[in-house]
Structure formats: C-alpha cells, structure tokens
C-alpha cells in the first residue's frame, strides 16, 4: 500500500486553512469578551454552521460508520440521538440560556442558585465531560494519519493536538467560530460527495442493506495478509482456512494452547482464538471473515450492540432505551456545545440558530450509516483486523479506478481531519474557559483584570491541550465511540436535569440542585469508570466492555447507566428541593425574568458585561 499523496495535500490544506483563518481572526479579536464568546454578534447561519462544525466529531464522522459496520441496525440510534438531542436543547435550553447571558454552564449554576459551591461542582463536571470527550478525538487523529499516511499513531496525536492548541491560544473563541463554520462545510462535503459517487458506481443504499442482511457471514473479497498483535482475539463463525506467516501459538476458547507453523495452512471451525504472539495470517478470497456478525443479527434490531439478545432479549431492550436516553439528553447538557449559545444575539436568535443546526446535522447524519453498510460489503477485512473505525477512510479505496480512489480518499481524509480538529478546539475552549474564567477568575482571584483573565485562558489552553496530547497517546486501544458515549451519559445525568429544572421550575433549590448533580453525575461516572477498569472488552455490550462477576442485569446497567442515573438525578433534585424550600434564591422571580423575558423589552443586560 503506497501513500496517497493527494491525501497529504488535502490534509495539509485543512491544517493550513485552519491556522490561517485562526490568525486572520486574531486580528479582529480585540476585547476579552471577543475572546470568550465572540462578542455575541455572530449571525444565526454562521453560528449554526459553527455549532454543527464543533459537534460533528471523530465519533460522528468515523465512529458512527465504523459501528454501523460492526454492529448494524442498533447503531442507528447513535446518529438519531445525536440529532434528536438538539430538539431537546431547542425545547428547554437554548433560548433561556442565552437570555440569562452567562459565558459558561458554571456561570449559570452560580447565577441561578446564587451559590459559589454550585459553580465549583459545575466546573468539576465540565472537566470530567471534557476529558472523556477529548481523548477519542486524539485517537481519531492518530488513526487517520496511521491509515492514510502510515505514520506512527503518536504523530497524528502530536500534530493535530499542537496545531489546535496554538489556534485556540492565539484566537480564542472568535478565532474558532469562523474556523468551525468552515469545517462544517468541509465535513458535509467530504462525507456526501464520496457517498453519491460510490452509490452511483456500486449500487444503491437499499441494495447494500439487503446484501448485508442476506449473506450469512461476509467473505474476503480478495486474497489478503493481515497483521495481528499479540492478545488479538479472532471469533470464527464458520469453518475458515488461513495460513500463518510466522511460527506462533494461539489459545482456544477451552484454554488449550495450539502451535502454528509458518506457511502451513490451518483450518479452524467455529469458535474463538486468542493469539499469544504477533503474527500475520494469509486469507484467501472467499474465506469467511472472522469477527463479523451474521447478516441476521446485523440487519435486525437488538443485535450484538445491545448484548446477548438470544439469552436475554429483555436486557437488549433495556440497553437500547438506556442508550437513547444517554445520547438524546446528553446532547442537551454538553458544556462545550452550550457555550456556543452565548454567541447568539438574543434568545430568539438562539432558537433560530438551533433550528438551523438541526437541519444541518440532520442532513449530515444521513450519510455515515451508508458508509458503514457499504463497508460490510466492500471492506469486510476490517472486521478481522478490528479496525472498523477506519471504514470511512478505507472504503474509497475499493471504488474502482486508482485515480478516483485517490481523489475520494483525499476528500474523506480532509473531512476526518476537520472532524477531530473542530471538536477538539471546541472542547479546549470549554475546558480552558472553565479553568480561566471559573476557577481563576471567579474562585481563585475574583479581582483579576480582564487582561490577566485572558492570559490565564491562554495558559489554561496550553496546559489542557498538552494534557490531552499526552493522555491521547495512551488511548489507542479504546473504541472512538465508547468514550464519547460515556461523556453523553454523564452530561445527561448532571447538566441536563440542572438546566431543565433550573430554567423551568422556580422551586429548584440550591441544595436540591447540588444533591441531584452529585447523585446522578457522580454515580453515572462511577458506573462508567467501573466498566472501564473492570470491564472485559471484546465480550462487549456496545463495545464498552462488560463487567464479569455480577449478574447480566447489573452489568448492563453499569455499561450504560443513563436509564437509572437520569431519572435519579431529576428525582433527587425535585425531592430535595421540596424539603429545602428556604434554599430557593430570594430573587428567584428576578432570575426567572432574566431567563424568560424577550430582550426586545430592554429590561436587563447580560449577566456579564465586559
């Protein structure tokens, strides 16, 4: 496999255009307010493109397609939830949050409840969610450079990490508003154009789904030699022949060790093998692909994503609901997305912006599943190598004439780059904003000048960006969508109830809000960390791993906690607030006025005016 030099050119173009736009924007950035929220003077269309650009991360661009290929139908809930979340953001959060006129969610927490402690708690959750969300972006960067340019994983992490960090340090929020909007269009173009061309050449969406569903197990389309690391597991669903290229050993499901001899063909029956040393296996065209789900379970609801649906159909249904809740409500509680709403002119334009966002991302989300479906037919070897995450990047190589493959490959590579670059910069602004604005400016040094806050923001961005790069080097074995899905579950159990009840129910008290944040947010995080550390990946629900030694019900509830943690958070907030009515801020009516009265009446200015 040679290097597609066209991809190098398009990737460099995206990096250079990003840096240039960022630097150009720096010249316009004048005030501290510009720096944090672009002076709240960005038009709805530009803002909608920027929000969408920021939202469509490596998980949307690469992860959804990869998971649709790997798990099939059930994964459609991911893009649906990613989009439907904005409906809830629109219904309950967008307008009032903008009217309240604060920079960050912690600003909201303090302003609504008149409590510095709630601000601190909110900052803590901004950090947790930001952390879970930044790492998969770093992984996306590493994988892309690995797939496209055959560079080591760490190169992509370092290059993307440093370019974005510099961009945020120099330009702040305004810098990235233009860049984010630009990157949305790059992503939409990069995913839509190759799909239209591939569908024209290779047959329709529907015929691909039918093919994917009807064939029992995908078979190799060509003779291939695949590299496997030590400890790789290969699940064979049918009698399969292959030729190891090196001497080595494998362990069967029964725990028996078998010796492989280089160049001597092997035939295995259904079952799982674990490689005890790195090896290369040569597969002939027509052999069944290991690790691929059967067409039956792939094409129908309650497939492998949702657990062992044959043994426990009820748990598959439970998992589906839990996933839906996490993603839909999590979207409406993502701090790096919420911060974008402050850049709207007023509450009304915040709503209009959200409507436009729904249109833009809805169109986008039609495409990634198509990639996944086509991948099952045309790139089945990705199942065996465990790299379905890269299907978006490798599928164009199957289209036909080399020049066309190169052109399409270069386009999607640019789109993938835009995806993790834009989301990473948004997260960086959000986390640095929390550090500089909330921790430094509000908690540590309340008398800090605008100038020193700006300096603090730049230092925080350098520190957070550096930290993400370092941590990003160690996450290459985790699934892209896994960490992102968990960030959604935590956001759904913490910020979403806080924002909805705080905005629409006068009775939410300071103590109630704190108790709900702690109960929902901390317990959801604990469940997730438990699954992350103790979970046995491979035998995975939603590829997040499954905890052994507890019942299947408990394991499912730990793997995707939203179904209990979100109601728990809401209930705790309501019950505790009822018990502590004296902890409702005295000026609650004034706060409600600030949240809900149209700006046209000219009753009040923003929470923070600089």
């Amino acid at each position: 496999m040679g290097i597609n030099w066209l991809s190098v050119i398009t990737i460099l173009s995206v990096i250079i255009a990003t840096a240039t736009l960022g630097i150009l924007a720096t010249r316009i950035v004048r005030t501290t307010s510009d720096f944090f929220v672009a002076s709240r003077a960005v038009g709805p269309f530009m803002n909608a493109a920027a929000i969408s650009g920021e939202y469509l991360s490596a998980a949307s661009f690469m992860g959804v397609a990869g998971m649709v290929m790997k798990f099939g139908y059930d994964v459609l809930w991911y893009p649906v939830g990613y989009a439907a979340g904005y409906l809830f953001l629109l219904l309950f959060v967008a307008g009032p949050l903008r009217r309240f006129g604060a920079y960050t969610v912690p600003d909201y927490a303090e302003g609504r409840f008149n409590s510095l402690n709630l601000r601190k708690l909110a900052v803590f959750f901004v950090m947790i969610i930001g952390f879970f969300y930044m790492l998969p972006q770093m992984k996306g960067a590493g994988v892309t450079l690995q797939t496209v340019l055959h560079l080591p994983y760490w190169v992509g992490v370092m290059v993307v990490g440093s370019v974005i960090t510099m961009n945020v340090v120099l330009g702040g929020m305004k810098g990235i508003t233009f860049v984010q909007a630009f990157q949305f269009w790059v992503k939409l173009f990069a995913i839509a154009v190759p799909i239209f061309i591939m569908l024209t050449l290779l047959g329709g969406y529907n015929s691909h789904i039918e093919a994917g569903r009807s064939e029992q197990i995908p078979r190799f389309n060509e003779n291939l030699t695949l590299d496997f690391k030590a400890e790789t597991r290969l699940r064979f669903t049918d009698v399969t022949g292959f030729t190891p290229q090196e001497n080595g050993r494998v362990r069967t499901e029964a725990g028996q060790e078998v010796i492989l001899v280089a160049e001597r063909p092997v035939t295995v029956s259904a079952g799982e093998l674990t490689l005890l040393s790195a090896n290369q296996f040569y597969f002939e065209q027509g052999q069944p692909v290991p690790n691929a789900p059967s067409g039956q379970s792939w094409g129908a609801p309650f497939g492998p994503l949702t657990g062992d649906s044959k043994a426990n159909p009820g748990l598959s249904l439970l998992y589906t609901y839990s996933l839906m809740i996490a993603i839909i409500f999590g979207t409406a509680g993502l701090p790096h997305i919420l911060v974008r709403f402050y850049t709207n002119k007023d509450g009304r334009s915040a709503r209009h912006t959200t409507l436009l966002v729904l249109a833009l991302i809805g169109i986008f989300y039609l495409f990634p599943p198509v990639f996944g479906v086509m991948g099952r037919i045309h790139s089945p070897e990705l199942y065996a190598s465990g790299t379905t995450d890269s299907v978006v990047l490798s599928l164009p190589g199957k289209v036909g004439p080399d020049w066309l493959s190169d052109v399409l490959g270069a386009i999607v590579a640019a789109g993938a780059f835009a995806a993790f670059m834009s989301t990473f910069s948004g997260l960086l602004v959000s986390v640095s904003g929390a550090l500089a604005h909330d921790i430094y400016g509000k908690i540590l040094v309340p008398e800090a000048s605008a100038r020193s806050k700006r300096r603090a923001f730049q230092l925080a961005a350098l520190a957070a960006g550096g930290g993400a790069i370092v941590c990003g080097l160690f996450v290459d074995k985790f699934d892209i969508n896994m960490l992102v899905g968990w960030a959604f579950a935590i956001a759904a159990s913490s910020f979403f109830p806080l924002l909805v009840l705080g905005t629409w129910w006068k009775g939410l008290s300071k103590v109630g809000a704190t108790a709900g944040l702690l109960a929902g947010g901390i317990l959801a995080s604990a469940a997730i960390v438990t699954t992350m550390l103790l979970g046995e990946t491979g035998a995975a629900i939603g590829s997040g791993g499954i905890v052994r030694g507890v019942g299947p019900l408990t394991a499912t509830l730990l793997a995707q906690p939203a179904i209990w943690s979100v109601p728990l958070s809401f209930l705790t907030m309501i019950v505790v607030s009822r018990l502590t009515p004296d902890q409702i801020p005295k000026e609650i009516n004034h706060i409600m006025l600030r949240l809900h009265v149209p700006e046209t009446l000219g009753l009040r200015t923003d929470y923070i005016s600089e």
């Binding site: 219904l91 307008g95 015929s207 729904l358 009516n589």
Partner: protein, 154 residues
C-alpha cells in the same frame, strides 16, 4: 389566561370564569408577598437597570415583578413550558414506542418499502424530517408567544 388579561386591560371586561379569577388573584397575592422579599435584595446597579423605561407602566411592572407584571411573566413561562413539554412528550412517545414495535411486532416493521425495512427506513432516514417539523413548529409558536407578550406589555 394571557388573552383574558388583554381583554381586561383594553375593554374592562372580565371574560374568564370565577375559578380562574380566584386562581389569578391568589397568584397575585403570593407574588406580592414575594415582591416584598425581592425588592430589598436587588443589587443597586441592577435595580437601576430595571427602571430602564420608566414611562411605560406595564413594562415597569414586569421589571418590578409587581401586580400584573409578575403574572404576565408567569403566564409566559407557563405557556412556553406547556408548548415545550407537549412537543417533547409527542416526540418521546413516538421514538420510545419504536423499540417496542421492533421487539413485539417485528414482522410488521420488517415490511419492505423500496428494499428498506420499515425499521431501517424510519431510523436511518424518515426520523430527521420528523424532528425538523417539530422543531419548526416550536420555533414559530414560541416566537408568536413572545410577540404576544411583548405587544401586551408595551
């Protein structure tokens, strides 16, 4: 309720029924009690800000959260909340019943149109226009509610 207040102000007619009137009066009393608490607590700078257009009586009432003003605002919040909740419930009932359909009536949703099973067609494509329609309805209606409120208060 909002409409009733407009009638009251313009025509001096009381179009609402007895129960509703009592509810409104109770609410007014409660709010006035709160006002007494609130007024002492407002920071000076913000109080000044709130008297931005002192010549407009109702506007000032909203700002001061007194009398009709507070009820107007409460009413706006209630209408907006009812709108949001009803759209949210519609949407949730729809998509939360879908896994149940997949679970219990698989043969129904496995029916094929243009080679797509209904379950795939709905989740992969048709759900997006549905979300757009609900969002569009919300945005236009919420805008209208706010215009009503602004007109009435001015």
């Amino acid at each position: 309720m909002l409409r009733n207040f407009r009638t009251e102000k313009s025509n001096k007619q009381f179009a609402y029924d007895q129960a509703e009137e009592e509810a409104v009066l109770r609410e007014l009393e409660e709010l006035e009690e709160l006002d007494e608490l609130v007024e002492g607590d407002l920071p000076e700078a913000e109080t000044a800000l709130l008297y931005y257009s002192p010549d407009e009586e109702t506007l000032q009432e909203v700002a001061e959260q007194t009398n009709y003003g507070a009820v107007f605002l409460d009413d706006l919040i209630k209408r907006q909340r009812a709108l949001s909740v009803s759209i949210a419930v519609t949407f949730l009932v729809l998509i939360f019943s879908f896994p149940l359909l997949n679970f219990f009536l698989r043969s129904l949703v496995a029916f094929e149109i243009f080679g797509f099973e209904i379950s795939w067609l709905f989740l992969g494509i048709l759900i997006y226009p549905l979300i757009w329609a609900l969002a569009f309805y919300f945005v236009t209606t919420a805008d209208k509610y706010e215009e009503d409120f602004t007109k009435m208060v001015r």
